[in-house]
Every structure is written in structure tokens, then in C-alpha cells.
Chain length 315, copies 3
């Protein structure tokens, strides 16, 4: 096990493409362990004396809070840097120098940046691990990992599942990353989106090479009954050429209690949050609606990552 | 004792009306204990591994800092969310979803919100305890509790005291809540305010039912000599119909060393802070001026609340 | 040793002028100790249960993060107050009342303020130690101490060194404070700056009284070969009467690999950061460029200060 952990210790977390199935097994086993410990109420001290710099160039309460909770639940400390206004960036410093500064104080740097590629750039400057917490239209690997972890938790395995992705699949960084992780397993992916917001062809071609089956649909009706996972994302008005184009399709992608009647009893309904109108609040009472459990799982997955990155040996 | 603690463990703290005298005894005994421990310099670890989300939709350095200090002094961690700009609220998420998200990461949520009723609303969404840290013109129960604790600390008991409230009693959330708590005891309340800013009739009627004596006055002279507690609040220019109305009365409600000469030697002068001109800085040297001790007591009362809410058994 | 420590325990840190050579020996020995402990990975708990209020009235990621990391690496907690917008200052409270409030919650207050003299003012209000983390054009003593510590670390001693300061020496708070600390030792100071930005006469006269040698130059060429330390600061366009004046001199004060060829092999190149164009990024690879090590040393020096201020006895 220790040998395999070498894929985590002191490493950067930049892209979902860096993970093998063996890595994911290690990570999820660790997440399971932390979940049990946290739920038992026992304090954890494995990262006592360690510091995480939480460098957010754009606001993200959910992700930022998740990392801060995760680090402290492991016994570690944190440096909150929440806003470009509160930063020497306002004096014109470049990202590399900011990263080189923060690595002097901390053991790991979590970076959220509005521009694609900046997380990778940060790794060039840093001798300490960088965790990409979202780089614009690039990646947000810990979101995809927590989504995958939630699916595995619900079904015990990731093999043989049908995952239906709904909403804006063209611009959704979240579904792109999740699809890439799912392609490591024997899954079928359904893409339900208005034509102008379908999954990018290049990504579909890449996924095809891994041998998984992918189907495109314009409405949920056709596939909901055969879905193990229904993964919903937001459709933003701004993505359409005209308001009438938007009005014409929007209702087909809103999840209601009626629509959920067609979904299998043991399916799960996911959403990366925040959600607006695309899932009706009355659906929250449906036990298949597990988007808030997703949030909690995010903390356990981030605890697992932080502990694997910062400890040479498992204990 | 443990049975009585069931009024705290896993409960929400929304309103002063939820407390019995027995609850307050429990709470203040716990606050006494933490005060002694903190002053002895001994580290406390009872909340190790626990996380408090500090969700402030409007700035409040004093209250926010007090909770953050309290939680850490108990060994716990915190998630600072200080500003609506730094929040997924800016993406349009509603309060319920934000609360449901934060409860996944934390063991207790402290909420300051500009709108009355939002703290109660938050409790509907959350399975974890909510502490109302001020909801607009609604309540700010921990402020009232720290005020009450300060009075008990000064006199050893809350029975038989005369408390004189001065300033804007119409709009002062602080004095409304404190008056309601004091009505649990055998006290006399004097209200000293310009007529347009007197205590609301509905509140006076409610308090009358509890059997306490209430008197209204327009100047402090009449009652200061018989006051055990002089509780001063701010009078804001904006509350008056005209500037001349304000100018006509304002000096009658400013505490100076001269005015304090009429107050009993063993009385105490309180203020919820921040204060502007309504207490002259030269009064700070008067040993009866205990508004900064009030601030410190706030930390002990919040430590007591946090530890009672989060621990099933006292230790 | 304990007697000498009385110059730290419960004291304020306001100005470099408050330190004797004996104080600095104590401080740097403690910083050495913390550096070893941190690098060994062992958690430190000497400040468990203690709280540091980090009150920043203007943004400074570097300094703020350094103190937050330092306090937590010692086992203590912190209250982050990052911005005047997030503060009861916006309700008009004066600094003295804010300080008196924060001292109720915390064991030490770190203050960054845009106006000279405010740190000293804060000490009048506070019974808890104040650390000046920069007060406008006044002082920034922990920056000077970390600079001095970095020099001592590089050469084993502070005696007999030649320190060349480059850039805007007129307005640079950093070089003023460092020069005052260096004057405690047998050093030679070279000032390399455009004439309009030379070291202030009053400071030169003050330093002359301590017996150190000071020389002014307009280019680096004349002195670089004889420098043990080259300390570079920013030159801001805005400081010149005209853009042409600036253009005429700016290149003489930019450090490039070519210029570094003239510097001694065992010299060190320092900068308080953030740097803009005054040190070319390709210089970063030069082992003599130690400005990021400076940053790290800042954390150890601040750990030393915090632990000496807050503990009555050394352990």
C-alpha cells in the first residue's frame, strides 16, 4: 500500500487525468476511514502542526469552506486568503511570487483561480503540493472525485452503472471531469441537453477511446427509467442565442417530483450545487436526492487527499 | 443536571424567550467555569475536532470575533464566512441551501443576518444547531445573555435590582431582549428616553404580565441615584423628525463624569458597544464603567453555549 | 536568561529602537529553535489555548499570512480581521475602542494600520501586547528583524559586514528600520539610489552617532564587488518629478544575472517583496538570491516573538 501511496505523497492535484483506478481505491478507502472517524466524534490529529494556505482568487464558499473544515478536522491549521482585494496581488505581484511566498509558510496550497492553466503554473513555482480547487473553464478535480466517491458509496461499486448527465454539458467543467473519471470504469453515459449545449465532440471522442458507451438525448424521458445516476447541472440563460430559444427548452431540464416518478427506486439524483430552478425544492425530500450528502462527501475526500499528500506513511 | 442540559444539547439558540431561569443557571455556571479556566491559562480541549461555521451576512467584528475566540479557546475549529460578497449567495443561492451546505461541514452554525426571522428560517433547513447572532431588528440573544451574565457577576444575584435603560429604547434590539430576560427575575426597570424613542408599548405590556415594575422618564436625573445598573444605548440622529428635535434632547442622554457622581458607588455602567458620543471617554476610568468587561463576558457566555450545545454530557 | 526575557514577556513590539543586542540574541536563538522544530515536522503546542487577533486595516497577504501561520504552528488560534469593510470601524468606532474590545478576546494583537503612530496609540488602550505589523510610513519592526535574522543566518554573525542598500532609500520604511538595527553592530552601509531618493539626512546623522560607516552612491557598480549583502527595494515611478527623470535612472537599479556576476560568490541578494521589475526573474535561480528564504525566516522570527511575548518562562 505504501508504494501506491507514492502517487499522492508530496504530489500536486491538478487534473482528473492523473489518477489510476488504483489511486482512486486508495483515496476512497482513506475517505471512508475519515468519514467513520468524523461521525464517531473522535478528534483526529494526524496533521497537527501542518498548515494549509487557502488561496481563492474568486469566491467559492462551498469549496473554500470544505477545505478549511477538512484541514481542521485533521488537526491542521489554515491561512484564509479569500479575495483578490485582500492580497498583494493588488500591488501587482504575479501568481508565481505569491505561490513562492505562501509555500514558505505552509505545507500545502489550495488554489482557486479564474483562469485556466494557472494551477499548473503554480506547481512550477512551488516545492509544496498544489491542489487545484478550480481554474476557470479548466478543471476542478476534487469536485469530480467527490462526485465519483458519492456514486461508489451509493452502489458499492462503479462498474456497470448508467450515468445520465443533464443540463449544460457544453460549458460544465464538472460533468467533463466526472465523465473522464467514470471512463476508467465499465459505465454507460447518457447526455441529456439542448443541442447547443451538448457535450463537446472532442471530449466524446476522447472518452470513446476508453471503450465506454455514450448516447445523446434532448429530453430526459427517454433515459430516466434506465439511469442509476441522474446528474443535473445548471442551464444559464446567457448561454442561448435568444431568450425564446431558452424558454423553449428550459422546462425539459427541470427536475420535479413528477419526473422523479419515472426514475428507478434505487437511483440517485446529484447536483454540484449551487442549484437554482433546475431542481424543484420539493424534490429535496426524495431520499434519492443526495446533493447535500455529496457536499459532505466532499469534506471526506478532501480530508483523504490532504492526509495522503502530507504524510509519508499511512497510519 | 444532565436532564436540564437537555435544553441545550443539540438545540438552536434563536430567542431569549426560550430560556427558563434554570437554563440560565446552567449556562452561567458553565460560563463561570470557562472564565476561570481561561484566566488560569490552561488550554481547554473539550471541542477538539468540532467545527463552527461563522456565517455573517453583515459585518460585526465584535460578535464574529467573540465566537471565533470562544470556539478556539474550547479547542475547536472555525470556518470564517464574513461577507455576502464572499459567498455563493452572490451566485443567487438561497439561505436554506447555504445552511444545508454548511451543516455538512460543521457541528454548529453561527448566523448573523440583516433580516428578521432568517435565523428561525435557518433552523428549518439545518439538522445542526443554529445560533442567532443577530437577525436585523429581530433578536440577538447572546448579547442579552452576556448582559445578564455581567449583571449577575457584579451583584452575585439578579433579584431585587433596579436597572435603568437609557437612550433609544424604541429601536434598540439589545434593550428589548435584555428587558425580557430581566423579567424572569424580581427587578425594577426604568426607561429613560426622549418620548419618541420610548420602549414599545407592546413590549411594556408583555413585561407587565410578568409582574415587574416599569417606569418611564425623560431624563436620567430622576432615577440615577436609585439605579444598580445604568444601561446606555446609542441615540441616532436619523431617528428624529428634525435635527432641532435631536439637538434639543441629545445632551440629556450623554454620560459624563459629572452625571456619574449621582450614581451609587456600587452601581455599574453598561453599553453594548460600539459607543459613539453617548459615553464620554473620560468615564472609562470610572471603575463602575464595565462595558469592556461586558465584551469579555461575551466570550465566556458563548464558550458556555457552544460547549453545552455540542456535548451530550457535561464533564 | 529569564531575566533578559523580561524584555519580551507581555511587552509591545512597536519599534526597532526598543531592542538591545542582548534582546536580539534571545530572539534569534528562539527563532533558530522554532525553525528546527518546524523543519523536523514535530507539532508544537506551547501556545495552545492562546489567541492572536490579527487586525489589518490595509491588505498585506504576506505579513498577515506569516503571523497566522506562526501562531498556528505554535499551537495557538487566531482571529482574522482583514479589512476595514469588515469591522465595526465602519460604524465609526475609534481604534482605541476596537483595541480594547479585541484585548478581551485575545492574548496578543497584531496591528497593521495605514497611519504612522497608530500602533503606539494602540498600546495605550491595550493591556495585552501589541505587535506593530506596519504603521504607514512609520515602522514595520518584524520585517527589519527578519531581514537581520536572515543576514545573521547567512554569515553566522552580524559583525564586520558590508551591507549595500539599493533603490528608493528615501521612502523605504524597510531600509530605514534595517539600517537602525544594523547600527547596533560593526557594519558598513552603502546607499545606492538616485539623488532624489537617497537616505534621509536625519536618519544618516542618527546612525553616524552609533559609529558605523555610511557611503552614498548613484550606481551599484562602484560597490557591488565589496558587498556581503545587497538589499534591493522598489523604485516607484510616482516618486519622480517627471517620467524622463525616472527613465533616466531606472535601469541602474535593476538586478540582472549580468550585474550579479560582479557580486561576491558568498554574498546574498535580499528584497522585502513584493518585487516588480527591480529583480529580473532569471536571477531567482542564483543561489545568492534568498528573498524567499527571507519570507520563511519571517515566520520563524514571528514565532519567536509570539512565544516570548506570551510565555512567562522559557521551556
Amino acid at each position: 500500500m505504501q508504494k501506491i501511496q507514492q502517487n499522492f505523497y508530496s504530489k500536486d492535484i491538478i487534473s482528473v487525468n492523473q489518477f489510476t483506478k488504483a489511486d482512486i481505491d486508495i483515496l476512497f478507502a482513506q475517505a471512508d476511514l475519515w468519514r467513520e472517524k468524523v461521525q464517531s466524534g473522535a478528534p483526529i490529529t494526524v496533521l497537527s502542526g501542518k498548515i494549509m494556505a487557502n488561496l481563492f482568487y474568486e469566491p467559492s464558499t462551498r469549496t473554500s469552506s470544505s477545505f478549511i473544515a477538512a484541514m481542521q478536522r485533521l488537526g491542521g491549521g489554515f491561512i484564509p486568503i479569500n479575495d483578490v482585494h485582500y492580497s498583494s496581488v493588488s500591488k501587482g505581484e504575479n501568481l508565481a511570487d505569491t505561490i513562492r511566498t505562501l509555500e514558505q509558510y505552509s505545507d500545502v496550497i489550495v488554489l482557486r483561480h479564474p483562469e485556466q492553466g494557472q494551477a499548473l503554473l503554480a506547481t512550477k513555482a512551488s516545492g509544496k503540493p498544489i491542489i487545484n480547487a478550480g481554474d476557470g473553464i479548466g478543471e476542478h478535480p476534487t469536485q469530480a472525485l467527490l462526485d465519483l466517491y458519492t456514486i461508489q458509496n451509493s452502489f458499492g461499486s462503479l462498474e456497470g452503472l448508467t450515468v445520465t448527465m443533464v443540463g449544460d454539458l457544453k460549458n460544465g467543467r464538472t460533468v467533463h471531469s466526472l465523465a473522464q473519471l467514470l471512463a476508467l470504469y465499465d459505465v454507460k453515459l447518457n447526455y441529456v441537453a439542448p443541442r447547443v449545449l451538448q457535450m463537446p465532440i472532442t471530449l466524446c471522442n476522447q472518452l470513446k477511446n476508453s471503450g465506454i458507451q455514450q448516447d445523446e438525448h434532448e429530453t430526459l424521458d427517454a433515459v430516466i427509467a434506465d439511469s442509476n445516476v441522474i446528474y443535473v447541472t445548471r442551464i444559464q440563460k446567457e448561454r442561448f442565442d435568444s431568450l425564446s430559444d431558452y424558454e423553449a427548452v428550459k422546462d425539459a431540464f427541470v427536475i420535479t417530483p413528477e419526473i422523479m416518478q419515472s426514475a428507478p427506486k434505487d437511483s440517485i439524483l446529484m447536483h454540484p450545487l449551487p442549484r437554482l430552478a433546475e431542481i424543484h425544492p420539493s424534490v429535496d425530500r426524495d431520499p434519492r436526492a443526495i446533493y447535500f450528502k455529496q457536499v459532505q462527501n466532499g469534506m471526506y475526500v478532501r480530508m483523504a487527499l490532504l492526509s495522503l499528500l502530507l504524510r509519508e506513511e499511512l497510519s
